[in-house]
Symmetry: C2
């Protein structure tokens, strides 16, 4: 079944909706493969319509095969256009993925109670969080490219180099091998800034003995990857090495437990207990990980508040960390594919703290 | 006046609101300078509160000076937290920048009519579209970095090179000079794909005689830039040169007319008339340009549907184009700063069609 057929099965057959309005850019990309649509209206009994503005119309006509491409003019109000289509087709129950409050009001007002709207964004996530074979191939490739980026980080980081210079080399290495930009803003956070989990990337010069957290992701045909390594510019101190070993152990044990049917809360607990037992629990200030796909943060969510249970085809990050304010931080992260047996690492790289291998 | 004071003046003094809830990431960055907040609540009579999750709490405590930083737990419902704060402070009229329909319902339900919510996102745009001196300095720097990227495009494009390889060199050149990533996905669209205004960047090998549209933007301290040049890999044909000259003329005349008090519609009309008079009107499938700042597409909008009038401090793109399906396209774009007199070009580069200067 195609992705659209699966969504129709869920929304129309199982939930009784007559149409599904998709407005989120990534949801549209997921269902249509086309990156520049204005909205998508799936219909139980009729044509599925992809609305496209003039600027992307020629490209859509050439690339979009499975939908009726409808030209929208900038002078037209998109929500009114959709409302008049829903009214003309006598559609009763409309599922919607996401809408701003203002667009919801505009659509509902134009429909004047002739159709019922209901937010059903979770159905899209049900589909998107289980990757199919073709998606997994793209994510493997994104993982390979990301691993090349991390390799470059190990080769580049040394005292005297600036954080953004390291990012430049990492991104260039990934890009030259075919990465389509970056999955998120590259983090190269050194010294005490490495204690900020989202420490960004500044023009700071890396100093001898700094902890440097490098968090990077490549993109391959819209699919993303996510990987972190922490390295010391020079010889690690005993305390740096100790924290590293704790995080390394937490990451390794959590990864070994990743498997279909395991709960997110259980997995998070494995890494958390190791860090807590070592006395650093309050310095582990985030969850174990998150899903990755067309977006870098997707369901399922791996933390203590999550009710998610892993299934075959989930792709998630495993990324515990310890962050000591004023001292620095350590995080180790891989993107992994959930399978029946042992999970497959999509990102691969050494787990070493020093740059001189 | 600081940005927050200006917003308070508009929302509280002029419009009579008691509080302003900001949830958009970029609006929060604009007002606070901090890139990782959960939401911001400005209050007429009290402390302004920046809500931050644990993962960014230490960084916020260190970097945020003008707001009371409030830690939110992942287990808490952010909208309920905000509602209880609004209720406790006996706030009556709350302006909101943006909310999804679902968050709006959650907030309104928690407030149970004890406060009135009104969407006022346009007030933020009123501020954001007029850049102050400090913002203009950052945008000048972003423009310089972008111009280096385009210079690299001219040096790199030749038959046999792949589109993404050109993008790799452009992005590397900008990054090494201090760009913080890219303002948007770099476009290197060659051959017939150059006829798609948003043609992306594929692994296609550039052929002798191809039109290549290169659309690129650097980022400097969160401020973006946007620039396009079109080049031919080799010697341009007569038809390529002719289309180029028309677009060049349209871009130059529109740029010369950019000035405070001029309407967006008038500016768009200048470029459009030149292209229409040359017989290519129906192949100019988008507007003249858009505002640029913390986002790459902002108000004001320069097209025939726009009611915007330019004011000193606007930063806009001027980017007419002609796109001939199956043949290829030409677009020329600069980012310019609106002043009382002649506009200042923030992006600078030659207007030539061939790569051998």
């Amino acid at each position: 079944m195609s992705k659209v057929e699966k969504l129709k099965q869920l929304a129309f057959k199982e939930k009784g909706f007559d149409a599904f309005l998709i407005t989120d850019q990534i949801n549209m990309l997921y269902l249509s493969g086309f990156p520049g649509a204005a909205c998508l209206l799936l219909h139980r009994n009729g044509d599925d319509m992809l609305y496209v503005y003039n600027v992307n119309y020629e490209r859509a006509k050439e690339e979009v095969k499975d939908f009726h491409v409808v030209l929208v003019k900038r002078s037209e109000d998109l929500m009114k256009e959709v409302a008049s289509c829903i009214t003309n087709l006598r559609i009763g129950k409309v599922a919607v993925d996401v809408l701003s409050y203002e667009n919801y009001r505009s659509l509902a007002d134009s429909l004047r109670s002739r159709a019922m709207l209901k937010m059903q964004g979770k159905l899209l996530w049900e589909l998107r969080k289980v990757k199919d074979k073709a998606e997994i191939e793209l994510m493997r490739k994104a993982g390979e490219l990301t691993s090349k980026g991390i390799k470059t980080a190990y080769e580049t980081i040394r005292p005297g180099v600036r954080e953004y210079e390291v990012a430049a080399e990492i991104e260039y290495a990934m890009r030259k091998c075919g990465s389509c930009g970056t999955a998120f803003d590259t983090i190269v956070a050194s010294g005490s800034r490495s204690a900020f989990p989202h420490g960004g990337c500044t023009d700071r010069e890396i100093q001898e003995g700094d902890l440097v957290v490098v968090d990077v992701g490549a993109v391959y045909r819209y699919y993303r990857s996510d990987m972190t390594r922490t390295v010391v510019a020079g010889r690690p101190s005993e305390k740096q090495q100790k924290i590293f070993e704790i995080v390394r152990e937490a990451q390794a044990r959590a990864y070994e437990a990743v498997m279909a049917e395991v709960t997110a809360k259980y997995l998070d607990g494995i890494a958390r207990k190791i860090i807590e037992d070592a006395g650093y629990g309050k310095f582990y200030v985030h969850g174990l990980g998150h899903g990755v796909g067309l977006e870098v943060h997707e369901p399922p969510t791996l933390n203590q508040e999550s009710n998610d249970k892993l299934v075959v085809g989930n792709v998630v990050t495993i990324e515990p960390g310890i962050y000591l304010p004023g001292f620095g931080g350590v995080r180790i992260e891989d993107t992994v594919l959930v399978q029946k047996g042992k999970a497959e690492k999509l990102t691969k790289g050494p787990y070493v703290l020093h740059t001189q291998l």
